[in-house]
Assembly symmetry: C2
Homo-oligomer: 333 residues x 2
Amino acid sequence: MEIIPLERFSHILEDKPAVIRAVRQGFMDHAQGKTVLPAPVQMLFRNKEGELRGDCHVKTAQSGTLPFFCIKVATGFYNNSASGLPVNNGLVLVMSSQTGAPLALLQDDGHLTSVRTAAAGALAASMVSGVVSGMVSGTFRLGIVGTGHQAGLQARWISAHCNISELTVWGRSQQKAEALAASLKGAAPVIKCAGSVSELCAQSRVILTATPATTPLIAAQDIRPGHHIVAIGADSPGKQELHPEILGLADFIYTDDHDQCLHHGEFGHGVRAGVINAQSDLSFGKSLADPAGNPLTPDSVSVVDLTGLGAQDLAIASLVYGHICAASIPNNP
Amino acid sequence: MEIIPLERFSHILEDKPAVIRAVRQGFMDHAQGKTVLPAPVQMLFRNKEGELRGDCHVKTAQSGTLPFFCIKVATGFYNNSASGLPVNNGLVLVMSSQTGAPLALLQDDGHLTSVRTAAAGALAASMVSGVVSGMVSGTFRLGIVGTGHQAGLQARWISAHCNISELTVWGRSQQKAEALAASLKGAAPVIKCAGSVSELCAQSRVILTATPATTPLIAAQDIRPGHHIVAIGADSPGKQELHPEILGLADFIYTDDHDQCLHHGEFGHGVRAGVINAQSDLSFGKSLADPAGNPLTPDSVSVVDLTGLGAQDLAIASLVYGHICAASIPNNP
């Protein structure tokens, strides 16, 4: 088993178009039933008062077309930053589908999960800008709700993949929002902070939410025709960023995985609130496979519910592991 | 993250009483609700004809009393032996419950899973021999159904933990049964092979099954008063070693975990066949905590259904990791 530290593969992740292509393929493979994704394991860690202080997800995926499968471990411990530690951590195991032997440990410190999530957000955001064969055209105004690590990554990856005319940031902490906005210099011609979520919504076509919120941040009255909402935060039961009525307003709801989104995504909140039925979602992976069939109009309201798939982990692990293997073959033609 | 190869901790596993104590404590902690065990991940690998050729289990466990949790990966690829490779493989990750950081990778090649399973079998077998405060008295005749790696381990661990007067082995391959019996020299005063499962049952008080069977090996007419059956093999949906009617005959059914055994253990087969009800099991962990309350009599029929718990993985990983940490502190008092 090869132990592969992040420094050996972090350069691969800097090639955003390659990562986005791999993650897009992962979603399409999943939509076509080419990957097997067992229900993820989720462990929650609470303090003595019962408040959530951390979580650990284990996601696994196998594909009939690959000689390996992967087991991804990602943790988020929210109080780590108070001790100067990163909130996110993790690793990815690459295992042989032929013998069951561990092949490689990608010591990614959670970075692969962050990046594949950012790539998914970029793909989801680009749905409004007329993507044809992977090329994005059209510009839009982007609003980012959240000021954490993933919020910043989303802004950078969407900016790299799409043409953003204006970027607005909102966070519960005005100070953190301003710091994030300052750090994003160059990601859009205009970058600013909004004083409220309503203001952010009024100034954005695409609204991306990337927070650990457990109560809705966006209200139904904030949503107007043309809004395309990409919800990243709800990756565990109990998390929620959108008021369920927004799901009722949406003309189109996309889920990365029907069952997973029903279980703990925004989609499930909408179904349980009784505002939508459990068959009202479209497959995000299928929409990526058929951009010409994209039904979004300048006036439609749409929600993309991304809970994070083992298929994304397998896609990015394959990209990295393929590079490492190729590099380790001397005189590789 | 410390990468710890098997050779650094295999000696710890040779102390069978210490391992059995740790695993017993793991079962008791689980029975008392002290451990959180998410539903395990199970991945199945099939050949082109749809036949099962391998599996991978991911089991996780956390305990409020430990500063770490564990993620155990175990694979079994049944055709490996044809290529001279071990069937089982795997590893255990020890993760911080405080920060979510990976602390250690125990490169156990599946050995920790094998050993904690053998320890569980030894604890289950010892239920018939009057265990008081961990000490075993009384002798019994043991029958082992199966000739694989785990069958051999079970014979050795039960022999080390209990007083066996006679050991009988049966396998589909007479040759493999004889090879196993020969390799077990010293495990009991008398060691022999049976010509059939019925013959093995007639000559044994405790019957331990450790096969990957998918159809019952033991029939109800083989079972007589006094039989104590420990079923190890059924660790995945589809696996089955006992005819469901045996569950109906049993005076006492013990499960390592009610939900897991209902899902894919012998207990579940009995419930689905309608011969027992879904509330008819007793907790194996509780029985270990209260050996004086053991209701087994010389004439009762009992079944212990062991599907394998993350709590066992956490227990054995704690034992190993505790030793490694203690050894790595210079001048540890």
